[in-house]
Amino acid sequence: MNTPLLEVKDLQTYFFSKHETVKAVDGVSFTVNEQETFGLVGESGCGKSMTCRSILGLVKSPGRVVGGEILYKGDDLLHKSKREMQAIRGREIGMIFQEPMTALNPLLKVKDQIIDALDKSIYNTAEKRYNHALEMLKLVGIPSPESRLEEYPHQFSGGMRQRVMIAIALCSGLKLLLADEPTTALDVTIQDQVMKLINRLRDQLKMSVILITHDLGVVAQMCDRVAVMYAGQIVEMTDTRTLFHMPRHPYTYALMSSLPGAAGSSQKRLPTIEGAPPNLANLPEGCPFAPRCRFAQDICRKEKPELLPYEGDVAHLVRCHIRDGRTQFVGATAKGKQEGGAEQ
């Protein structure tokens, strides 16, 4: 547990076009320990998916990882050759996608899609490969796996496809699973089943999970530690319990209070975060969240804040200028209204 399984240091993934550079991931650092579920939370386009894609080397042109390190078991994945990466993908680090409808090849039988992911030197006979494919479908809880193996993706329901995708991703014994919003496309009851499945498999296969989501409920249910991302940067990172009980970044706080059933939101309309995420090609001078922040002060609009330990706690990092006097966000509502009014 001492050396982290994955250590991302100052990762920068930019997208280049003729006129502008979009900083999709702008200096992201975090660690994932063994057998831990690490959550990456944020709005659409905040860079959480791109962080994951960078880890697996799946960033497509015009995007490029321009800086940082991705240390997996101490080795920098950014310096691996194509061949070496191929040996890591699916064997050490794998990924499941958001859309089970589009992430499976419609023209191949489920059996073949599992077998494609197997290491042919270990599963060296057709029989071994078949048996392992069967084993995987059983593992993810697909009924009558023998006949299902011979079917095509379109013959499966959404939830079952997500299970198939998990089976494929895990079939070579991953150490780290990147789950990119694995339940967003599914309905709520199926969501719960799939999350429980991921949890069970994590314990059973002794792997770590990076869970990308915008659903804080899922975070509470699944994650050990969480990083909240905004505009390509981590704005707050701590363990799940602390995040829910003492959110220190205004953005985290705003996310929390827009949860149904969260404190102070009962019987009223859900609070929303006004405004839209900033244009990543043209970030404001100061804190990217400042234009939407109820607590923003002059310094927030001028200087970019650093990601620093909160009150000396190195396990709780916050990227915010207003570091003191904000221990009582809940009580700050009245003050916030005044400031919000002044802002407009």
Binding site: A103, N105, D116, I168, S172
Partner: protein, 312 residues
């Protein structure tokens, strides 16, 4: 088993289509102004003779009876005698059809041979130099009329370098093949360019699909990703285009057959139209319709092998 019922179903579906084609041919020929009997006997014939011939040809019967006779003969592939050649239409077609079909087959093979590798390379190297070069060549190929390409090829490979005949297709199968190479290439060029552009675009689109990323993320080799994930999916739309292009080339064979003076159906059809040889036109239209249906049947069968979603 599912595939067999699917194919059977597809064949049964052809029957109403074929019936409509037959009705259309019947109506079409009767809508064209002019009296066939008068046409056969010529301008100077006596009215009584014409009337006698009309009676003999059954043209005085009601349309329903005419259609019944027409339909019955059609089922026996009996289209009557050509007005122009005074012999059985179907025999003439039978004699010439092999050339047109072979020409189309050769052209199809050439276009596939050219378009599949180039389209795939261009799609995988989107916006790189190879892609640009391939796309510009495709544009050039589309802009050149078939007959002109045919003439150029003839000048180059029959006149300057004498390796292929400038026309005709000889008598032996080898001579047939030699005679079909140049017209085949000329005929194939535009189709190849269209297929290539289509394939290039679908490769670009498919490469962006989640399942391709997922395949990469699960550690599948680049070669396998390209063949089983990108290529296979890209070919689906290309096959659709190919089937329409094949029927188009079949119909367009008249131009290239004329350029290379090949005795094929295209020329037969044009001659028949100019000579108002209605019997012949009917026969050819029917045979062409039959071939078009056959091509689309084969396409659908190929589909059912590639795309499992089809058979449902």
């Amino acid at each position: 088993m599912a595939r067999l019922t699917y194919i059977l179903k597809r064949i049964l579906q052809m029957i109403p289509v074929l019936f409509v084609v037959i009705v259309l041919i019947f109506v079409m020929i009767r809508l064209i102004p002019g009296d066939p009997a008068r046409l056969m006997l010529g301008e100077t014939a006596v009215e009584a003779d014409v009337e006698a011939l009309r009676e003999a040809m059954g043209l005085n019967e009601p349309y329903t009876t005419q259609f019944a006779i027409f339909f019955k003969n059609l089922l026996h592939f009996d289209f009557g005698n050509s007005l122009l050649y005074k012999t059985s239409c179907i025999d003439l077609v039978k004699e010439r059809l092999p050339l047109t079909v072979s020409l189309t087959v050769v052209a199809t093979l050439f276009s596939l041979l050219i378009s599949i590798p180039l389209g795939f390379v261009a799609g995988l190297h989107k916006d790189k130099a190879s892609d640009q070069a391939i796309r510009i060549s495709a544009l050039a190929a589309i802009s050149m009329p078939t007959f002109w390409v045919g003439l150029l090829l003839m000048i180059a490979f029959s006149v300057k370098i004498r390796i292929f005949p400038a026309g005709g297709w000889g008598t032996t199968p080898l001579e047939h093949l030699q005679g079909l190479i140049l017209p085949g290439i000329a005929q194939a060029l535009m189709t190849a360019a269209l297929l290539m552009r289509n394939l290039r675009n679908s490769v670009v689109d498919i490469s962006r699909m989640d399942y391709v990323d997922f395949a990469v993320s699960k550690g599948v080799s680049t070669r396998r990703v390209r063949s089983a994930y990108i290529m296979k999916n890209s070919l689906i739309s290309t096959i659709t285009l190919l089937s329409t292009r094949i029927t188009y080339m079949l119909g367009g064979s008249v131009v290239i057959e004329t350029v290379f003076s090949l005795p094929g159906c295209g020329k037969l059809l044009v001659d028949a139209i100019f000579a108002r040889d209605y019997a012949m036109v009917q026969c050819m239209v029917f045979i062409f319709a039959l071939i078009v249906l056959l091509v689309s049947l084969i396409t659908d069968i190929i589909y059912s092998f590639i795309d499992p979603r089809i058979t449902l």
